[in-house]
Symmetry: C3
Subunit: 213 residues, 3 copies
């Protein structure tokens, strides 16, 4: 199944690019300078994976050693600075790539934790962290409440993707490649449907409004 | 002294529950959704211990591998959502459990750092981190200045608890079990007295007010 | 070249002190209490190095084990509380020491990553992290957008210092000591010139202003 790894590789690049674009765009809106925009782009692209690698003992973290992650983040940052009208028009494919990145990072994050010999709970938690950690760091650095904790089916799609990997790995009904394909497809479909139909998880604040500054 | 370990175990569960309740309540007030409330509850319960374990090389962190920490955090989150009036009425026991958790996490955090062969400074710093790190992460994610850095005798009670463990371990006047009991008692008492009599550490801002948003 | 290591040692202490002063001053302005001021002073002084050490597998992190870093941070915190008029008058030397610390931490951070056998990308990224990570953590905890991402030639000076170390180490045109001296001098000069002439990196926000709270 070499074809699968080619697809993985493409999804990895596309997802990294979409994550970096989301970081660079948010940083630009916030008025950060050249260095700030590059930093946030890179943080969104690699932050979740770095936290995962530190927690599973994969030292040094892949996000720090792999040159093309950094290169993709810098290209996304420079595009967001120099070709902003184009980046804005790319909004729809970027959302698609972002959903692809979300699915891939959740699945490969859970797989990597399992491959280091850790248990299913670690794999699910760090699968989610790989997928959404970078976005959470972006929002923390930009001084706002992480959007994925407030609304949208985003982290919960990652949860389901990582959960399928762990359950599939435990039950061994089908090969690991098929488990990954199923997990990717379900996570991606869930995220796209949630975007299309504006699905949100319930929230429960009473009286006191959720004011983000 | 098997009785001590039973007490430890009970305090650990009660403290984890109280920490998770504090996270879930704050997340609910801030208008986070279901996933956000569960995440913040889990972060407060396990965040400090995860940072400690990463720093001492205890990979994977206990907070990620132990199923009942996650389970307790989810129960606390769901109670905060579904049984909010009851959780509000539990305010007083939760403060008590929270003080118990603070003491236990400071003591066991320092002990774990020592047991990994690190020096007294590491043990004191990571004892404090175990006890207050989750709460600091909660406030950072919820976009406010950590309350324990602004007022209250909270982190300083943890400091004293961790310090007693390290000094006791160094001087070896009594057994480690007795050191732990003394440290737990003093830290807990200090925290309860500070709550009861509204003790605060001094602050020194001049002119410019401390405005939290 | 024992003289070099004496200079290193002095710069390390002076830089740590300046970083701690910047943390303590910001914490005092924000109205934090005694514990908060000490914590932020220590965080700025040691935070970047601790993140570096966790990422390269240097466990436990030097910032947690070295007593004089903690001692310097506490002295800086207490000076900022008790001798605030003097600390304010020290503004100019503190800026100088801060630039020295920035240069030294970028250079030694990159060197340490290389000495642990990691590649040039890791060394550059973690050299920057060593130099600016503490300041970024300070701003995150104090609930504001990190100033180094918004303006000033600060992190970019660290980037150039770390880059020179990595390139020099790769090309081996001169000895490592000379590489370090060149990197230190260029990084320090760049930072001082940027301060003197108010150099900033460009930012690109359009319409929406960059409002920090």
């Amino acid at each position: 199944m070499d074809k699968l790894h080619t697809i993985y590789y493409f999804l990895d690049l596309a997802g990294t690019f979409a994550f970096a674009i989301s970081g660079a765009t948010a940083a630009r809106h916030r008025g950060l300078d050249l260095f700030g925009i590059c930093t946030i782009a890179y943080t969104v692209a690699c932050g979740g994976g770095i936290i995962r690698d530190v927690c599973i003992g994969a030292i040094p973290p892949a996000g720090l050693t792999t040159w093309y992650y950094l290169a993709i983040a810098l290209v996304a940052a420079i595009m967001t600075i120099g070709l902003y009208p184009i980046v804005q028009r790319l909004n729809r494919p970027v959302l698609l790539f972002d959903a692809a990145g979300l699915s891939l990072f959740a699945v490969t994050g859970a797989q990597k934790a399992l491959s280091y010999g850790h248990n299913g709970e670690v794999a699910v938690l760090l699968g989610i962290m790989t997928a959404v950690g970078g976005g959470v760091l972006r929002d923390i650095v930009l001084n706002r409440v992480p959007v994925i904790l407030e609304k949208e089916i985003y982290a919960s799609a990652a949860l389901i993707g990582a959960l399928i990997v762990v359950l599939g790995n435990h039950l061994k009904w089908v090969s690991n490649d098929w488990i990954a394909i199923i997990a990717l497809t379900i996570c991606f479909t869930l995220r796209i449907l949630a975007l299309r139909y504006h699905w949100n998880l319930p929230s429960f604040s009473n009286g006191k409004a959720s004011v983000d500054n």
